[in-house]
Amino acid sequence: MALRITVNGEERTVDADPDMPLLWALRDHLQLTGTKFGCGIAACGACTVHMDGFPVRACSIAVGDAEGAEITTIEGLDSPAAKAVQSAWQDLDVVQCGYCQSGQIMSAVSLLEETPQPSDEDIDVAMSGNVCRCATYVRIRAAIHEAAKRMEG
């Protein structure tokens, strides 16, 4: 069945069952592979994308339910907060294996768009759903503070 979704500002057609998770529509049908699969049950955050500006777990949203919504993936990030987050992430060498980091960055960008100067507690709450098995958490926290500083300056 042909479904129409808007991804990174472009209208795209996906020929899939409406119950296919958005994650797999993005990955297998639109070749947007920056969004990762980690658990499939909304427990790890690797698949985090923005839907109408809010962070959601793409593994747990049916692509049929994403019709009409604006989806942004890591490939389409472009806001000032996104630039601050990505540059802070790079300068602090946050990544290890990197597999969780698209999701981490999507969550961090949402946090900073909502809360430009987050406390450690704000960070814990916003980022708790994003697992990093490499445990890069010390640097994730530092990079979010750094990005907040860069957005201010």
Partner: protein, 729 residues
């Protein structure tokens, strides 16, 4: 010998890899030289091989590509290997790129392992330290020779810095890229001299990671991202208990699912082959399979542990014996005894394991995050009945591994090739695992039971030590058995116990290797994940029985081990050991050597209700000459977090042989709010560099347990901590 290749990359990267920044054909600068020098770090190793075309490629646009024989799965190896080559090459760090080398045991073997290409045992930097520096130095010599020829000046007068060559006398200068082609035609020198470490500009300094940009923009390619034309996706239904087999299956319903193309039997189970993940996953749910469980493992974890406990009453195979520990225990003034229990642990790398196989006209191509590429190559060849050279292995970034991708029987590759073969090679196949497949799929850190006994004399001196270990062998039945199982003792079961550094005149370490039908595997830091735990907790108990401070007690026993002592003193000092803490907080320490690196950690804990909260970790590490201090810190941070998640929450349990956990809701990973502050201090050293991927993990568990004891008065001797209710004393 120098070679020029039309296509520098041995891979067909048309459709799935991000186009490289370097355009056009690259020139391969290679060497066929065996520089003469003694290799001190690895006993028995011959001269280092630096073979043609193997390690450094310089493109006309100036891009320097370092081919890495080790997989990058987070530990920073590619950055480290490139640092070594770039240091001697005098490349500008900005022009350096990395690529995974193809599978080739002759060119890319791990020099600590023999004729196998592989990454493990935190050996990547240690075994490559000389090799990659020579590769860089030889490449530089070729560029210098080219400049000397072109400018007609003596080679000795040419300076090289930051990717530029220059000659002061004539005012000539050129970039690496400009000279690459001419360099490729030079006769390589028979000897090169490496830099004096005091002149290092990258080693020991800050070199940013080579993969930060691609991994923060969604551009890095992992196996799960590989797209081949016409590729199909397979999910495999595997036995519900380990060792069961398929009796029969009915695929009628599965085949009716939209997108499902074929259902095939493979040695690992039943594979549903579909056009995408979602169809395969729905199709797999519709399979009806009759399993033959008669050969399966049906015991529960509790039952297995009870059997281990009984076994521990009997002496095992001796792994270490000093003096007469029985006699010393009999005459000791005080005898302490403690039992420790360790559960099975899953690795749960963030990227569930996977592999892509494509059978071609003259062989097979594999894409996977391969930790032992030449073993994977052999496994694929065997399944297809072709020569290993016909199998090309494209190693990709892996989303973590922690040992999971180093399977001696090449499980993921074998699956992908088996499915490709079962569908007669008509399409490339990727086999994906779900998280449930991963958590329930075995290859666990084995369960272990430890029994410790020790004796103190009237003066509180430690005079006797007995450490008995009961558990499965990781190496039995693998190609590594000959290398690492000695007199029936699997060294990976006892490492960290048999090399006990504490000075005790009478010591015995023995082992019972058990027979359990659960596939097991090395898990970040392998034997030290359990041995460090019991040893370091028990030493604390003994310190208390002797009326001594834990650091003081260890200091005396470690007098002959300066590197253990060095990290312990550094961690203790930086953590303010002995200084008062706010109410409700306590400290604990542990020190451990693994893979020839030394790590001590001091933790501060508190209790939040009944839940331990790890507030701060001060870590000291001695890994020889530090190559990339920031990445050493990153690996300590990561190793601490990984170990912490396991000791706080994790166990895989069997219920009648069935794995009780299935995903991150019940195999609970560490989350950001549980991550302590971590401070890492690196001991300055000129010793040969050793690894950091694993050694950060072992001390965290016992350091936490020792701190919790100070807080609660309770010794916790079985993991995970979440099984225990903790109350402040």
């Amino acid at each position: 010998m120098l070679a020029k290749r039309a296509s520098a990359a041995p891979l067909d990267r048309r459709s799935f890899l991000i186009a490289s920044a370097s355009a056009g054909a690259g020139l391969v600068i290679g060497f066929q030289i065996l520089p003469k020098f003694a290799y001190g770090a690895a006993p028995g190793a011959g001269p280092i091989k630096v073979d043609p075309n193997a390690f450094v490629r310089i493109a006309p646009d100036g891009t320097v590509t370092v081919l890495c024989k080790h997989i990058e799965f987070g530990q920073g190896t590619h950055t480290g290997l490139a640092t070594l080559a770039a240091e001697e090459l005098e490349a500008d760090w900005e022009q350096v790129r990395t690529e995974h080398a193809p599978a080739n045991a002759a060119l890319y073997n791990n020099l600590h392992w023999g004729p196998v290409q592989g990454t493990g045992g935190s050996s990547a930097i240690a075994n490559s330290y000389d090799q990659m520096r020579y590769a860089g130095a030889l490449a530089k010599a070729m560029l210098v020779a080219a400049a000397a020829e072109q400018w007609n000046v003596p080679a000795g007068e040419i300076a090289v810095a930051k990717g530029q060559l220059s000659h002061a006398g004539s005012g000539q200068s050129a970039s690496f890229g400009e000279l690459a082609e001419l360099a490729a035609q030079q006769t390589p020198p028979s000897e090169v001299t490496l830099k004096d470490p005091k002149d290092h500009i990258l080693i020991g300094k800050h070199a940013p990671r080579v993969d930060s940009k691609s991994k923060t923009t969604g551009q890095a390619t992992y196996t799960i991202d590989v797209m081949r034309p016409g590729m199909l996706t397979a999910l495999i239904a595997r036995p519900p208990i380990f060792g069961a087999t398929v009796a029969s299956f009915d695929a009628t319903e599965a085949l009716q699912m939209n997108g499902v193309e074929e259902v095939v039997a493979v040695p690992q189970g039943v594979a549903v082959v579909a056009r995408d993940f979602w169809s395969a996953s729905k199709g797999r749910e519709l399979l009806s399979i009759e399993w033959d469980e008669s050969t399966g493992e049906t015991r529960s974890s509790d039952q297995i542990m009870a059997e281990y406990r009984t076994l521990a009453d009997q002496p095992g195979l001796v792994a270490r014996q000093d003096g007469d520990s029985d006699a010393a225990l009999a005459s000791a003034a005080q005898v302490l005894e403690a039992d420790f229990e360790f559960p099975f642990l899953a690795h749960a790398p963030m990227e569930p394991v996977n592999a892509v196989a494509e059978i071609t006209q003259d062989g097979c191509e594999i894409w996977t995050g391969s930790q032992i590429p030449t073993v994977d190559q052999g496994a694929a060849a065997q399944i297809l009945g072709i020569a290993p050279e016909k199998v090309t292995v494209h190693t990709l970034y892996a989303g973590g591994s922690f040992g999971r991708r180093a399977t001696p029987d090449s499980d993921m590759v074998a699956e992908a090739v088996s499915v490709a073969k079962a569908i007669e090679g008509r399409a490339p196949v990727r086999v994906l695992w779900t998280r449930e497949d991963d958590v329930q799929g075995g290859r666990y850190r084995p369960m272990y039971f430890h029994r410790m006994r020790a004796g103190l004399d009237e003066d509180g001196k430690l005079v006797a030590w007995q450490h008995r270990i009961v558990g499965q062998s990781i190496l039995k039945g693998t190609p590594f058995e000959g290398m690492l199982v000695q007199n029936g003792v699997d060294l990976t079961s006892v490492e960290g116990a048999n090399n006990l550094p504490y000075a005790i005149p009478n010591a015995l370490v023995d082992l019972h290797t058990t027979d359990v039908g659960v596939p097991v595997l090395w898990w970040r830091a392998v034997g030290s994940t359990h041995t460090a735990h019991s040893v370091e907790i028990f030493i604390d108990e003994l310190a208390e029985a002797a009326g001594r401070d834990p650091v003081d007690f260890r200091r005396e026993l470690l007098a002959e081990h300066p590197r253990h002592l060095g990290v312990m003193e550094l961690a203790a000092e930086k953590a303010g050991w002995g200084e008062p803490l706010p109410a409700g907080r306590a400290r604990g320490i542990a020190v451990h050597e693994s893979f020839a690196s030394f790590v001590a950690q001091v933790v501060e804990v508190s209790l939040d209700g009944g839940t331990p909260k790890i507030e701060r970790v001060v870590c000291a590490v001695d890994c020889g000459r530090p190559i990339n201090p920031d990445q050493i810190k990153a690996q300590m941070e990561g190793g601490i977090g990984y170990g912490l998640g396991a000791i706080l929450h994790d166990e895989i349990t069997l219920d009648g042989g069935r794995v009780a956990q299935s995903n991150f809701h019940d195999y609970v990973p560490l989350r950001i709010e549980e991550m302590p502050k971590v401070e890492v201090h690196i001991v300055p050293s000129e010793a040969a560099p050793t690894g950091v991927g694993e050694p950060g993990t072992p001390p965290i568990g016992p350091a936490v347990a020792n701190a919790l004891y100070q807080l609660t008065g309770e010794r916790i001797r079985s993991l995970p901590l979440s099984k225990h209710e903790l109350r402040g004393a």
